[in-house]
Point group: C2
Chain length 486, copies 2
């Protein structure tokens, strides 16, 4: 009588009784407590011995029969299936003795790369942003109520077609709105066909790297440079060629000397990340000439160029390109908010078809609802208005930060654009150590050395000012002063 081998269901548990019985029977079979070919008691007998209804037993049996754990023979009853060719060995403990996974080269490269946003940066900030996190826009000044209204309207009016799979390239009206915006405000030359909506600028960089870089291909990268781009390039197996940055931006001459045959160059021309310099026109033209002759692509990451405080934003490199060598990357993480995960690529026409065909296998497309809301935000004029407001706000916060840093042993460099400034440390200083000391004082500064591809970088700190209000900036600067005193 195997019924003692079967644990009775517990009516106090939230799981239906038949399901508990199913689980218990299955466990008994899998662990070998109920052997192959064992005849089970009748449903009536089991219902009595386990103190459950006969229906409960019938339901559990039906499921186990369907899954092949049990077999029934007409007129002779129900048996543990004979066709299990091997009983699983004693279940290993779920944790211990797990073999070390064999990771791909990509996985190994990515985990060796300096991390960016692993974990939960917002949680670290315990609800309000800490001074001086880099890359954080003024979320307190985002028109969240308006945004919620636009989202709600789109959600209400979504029909079956809006719920279905969408175009791989993104929502057509959004692509048109982006094309119109970058044409006017960034002097980009494109049509909506060239715009592909992706998951933030990271989704764009990842796609570009995978489709244009083979393992071992050399790629120019600004040194110091953006870790997200570096990760995407490394994950494609790129051999990173560090190219130094001076006051005019990327040293094209050095790149040409080190590796004239690079496949790609990653650039932040409007506001170099992290140094903040602008790529000069001379260098832009040099770069375009090199890209043409080398058949290389220039990836222009225009992450925060909308925030220029004097004059108009600088024109994009893409607008100077007449040979289809520039891939423009934009994001709404800095202009709206990061959790939106909407960015875009503007592709040279010759690249469009292959990018779309390949992208279908990467993540299908980007979710539809917020693409619709974003379209309404841009077309309704809210985007332009928000950018203008933020420009004013960030200019103020930048000025507040520079005043607050006065007297600190830092040499500030604050470009006329962007969302962060640099505080240079005396040469020989350990900027990572300073950042750790600042963290102990609850200040989030990012050491410049983190972005270096080569050993000898001038030490300095990145100080984000856009996401923190003036009181927070002043308080942060006071705590930073304490940290710098040691």
């Amino acid at each position: 009588m195997p019924d003692r081998l079967i644990q009775p269901p517990d009516p106090a548990q939230p799981i239906p009784l038949y399901r508990q019985l199913y689980n218990n029977l299955r466990a008994a079979i899998l662990t070998g407590r109920l052997k192959h070919g064992t005849r089970l008691p009748s449903t009536r007998e089991l219902s009595e011995s386990l103190n459950v209804s006969r229906n409960t037993v019938l339901n559990a049996f039906e499921q186990l029969l369907a899954e092949g754990y049990l077999e029934s023979a007409p007129a002779s009853g129900t048996f543990v299936a004979m066709t299990l060719p091997e009983t699983p060995s004693q279940p290993a403990p779920r944790s211990g003795r797990v073999e070390k996974p064999r990771w791909s080269a990509i996985a190994r490269a990515l985990t060796a790369a300096p991390a960016m946003h692993v974990g939960d940066p917002a949680r670290k900030d315990a609800g309000h942003p800490r001074a001086f996190r880099v890359g954080l826009p003024a979320l307190d000044a985002f028109p969240a109520t308006l945004w919620a209204r636009l989202v709600a309207r789109r959600a209400r009016h979504s029909d079956a077609r809006g719920l279905d799979y969408q175009a791989t390239a993104g929502y057509r009206p959004l692509r048109e709105a982006i094309a119109a915006h970058v044409t006017v405000s960034r002097q980009v030359r494109c049509t909506a066909d060239q715009v592909v909506i992706v998951s933030g600028s990271q989704g764009a960089l990842d796609l570009v790297a995978r489709l244009l870089v083979d393992p071992g291909d050399p790629v120019w990268m600004e040194d110091p440079g953006y870790l997200g781009a570096r990760g995407a390039l490394v994950s494609a197996g790129a051999q990173i060629v560090p190219v130094p940055v001076d006051a005019e931006g990327l040293r094209v001459d050095v790149g040409r000397k080190r590796c004239p045959e690079a496949r790609l160059a990653y650039l932040t021309p409007s506001h170099q990340f992290p140094l903040g310099v602008t790529l000069s026109l001379t260098r832009r033209l040099e770069l375009l000439a090199w890209a043409r002759s080398a058949g290389a692509y220039l990836v222009e990451d225009d992450y925060d160029s909308e925030y220029r405080f004097h004059g108009r934003p600088l024109a994009a490199l893409q607008g100077l390109d007449d040979s289809g060598r520039v891939i423009y990357v934009g994001t709404f993480s800095k202009t709206l908010f990061p959790a939106l995960r909407l960015g875009y690529l503007i592709l040279p026409p010759a690249l469009i078809d292959t990018f779309l065909a390949a992208r279908a296998f990467v993540d299908g497309h980007t979710a539809a609802l917020e693409q619709g809301a974003l379209t309404d935000f841009i077309v309704g004029g809210h985007f332009g208005r928000h950018l203008r407001r933020m420009r004013g706000l960030y200019a103020e916060r930048r000025a507040t930060l520079l005043r607050a840093l006065d007297g600190l042993p830092l040499e500030p460099f604050a470009a006329d654009t962007g969302m962060h400034c640099i505080g240079w440390l005396p040469s020989g200083a350990d900027d990572a150590g300073v950042a750790r000391a600042a963290a102990a004082h609850d200040v989030d500064v990012t050491p410049l050395s983190r972005f270096s591809l080569t050993a000898h970088a001038r030490p300095g700190l990145l100080l984000g000012y856009a996401g923190v209000d003036p009181a927070g900036i002043r308080a942060g600067a006071r705590r930073l002063a304490l940290a710098l005193k040691g």
Copy 2:
């Protein structure tokens, strides 16, 4: 007097006058009409000759000075910059003479792979779904009003923290809700820590392939099998080992013979795609034993298992795994709607950290808003209710389809689960040809041969029934009958 070289701004255009002047001056410089070192007329002179205000000229100059197109010398005026080392050659026409891009091996492999959803499937359907598209849920029966309410509420209550970058693994309460759901309904054994929210099942498969497969690594794939998985594996450079499928699912014995050392096996155990068979318990145990001994991973794509019409859904393979070899892939594309782009991975504990570290470089994380709404949908009991309703609806639609196919020269096979059935054609028939004929009659059937990895597959058609109402199913069957008559 170079001012004749400068096109005057046109007040009829929607672009501000200073911006037009800026564009025109820049174009004149870049095309060499204004040579290096040329002295420009004074702002007063230009304002008169171009018939614009002096402020307009000043604004344009300011911008061109900032960008390095112009230089100013105190007391002597404004000049075209001398520091342009090379004038760009005559701008090539934007279209013609573009060099053929050099694509990565990944890009070449992906564009050679059979396409899935390139383009816009919803648009093809012109607003209402065509019978018998595969993989389409009943969007007409989705509780869109309730969903809109949940989304709107989340949007209204989103604070600065909700707008910020989010955890790479996804929204914690959603991970908990998913863990609870799959534990009860799919017998998956996991904690919320093992759940990672990604962009649909495609995002999951892509991530798995990249992190666990190196170029040239052999991977078992069901033959015939799912094109999305094949694309993700191919893009990681996998060497696909086709393993045939019979009435009990994957022929594990054949896989072991062909390639015992495969790194990974891709599987749809609950309802094999496209054939619809269920992987038997025997095979499941064989597979787990092989994976343990080979150190391989089993990727369980549980894409539509919630729809089983008799008895309870079959337990997931993952629940039988005691050695951390099964990676479970789930999606809400079939249970809610595809445009949501939310799917999830359930990882063996040993894989979690590396997946999260690497994923930060792929797309950061998944957008926050709809993760919140989905959490409310599940926790509020709406998800369970919707699944139950859809189970009834799809069972009806399946029965309608089978009745409507009666008399057609097709041998139907409709598994007791899922969203589509198979119509077998006489051996030797050209299923792709039949599908083309059906398309000419406005019926969307998918030829089985499309999913074959090897040449000799039995010809048949996939007929999706979930997304089409009974009238549409009957009309589709009538049109299909015409197409089959030729």
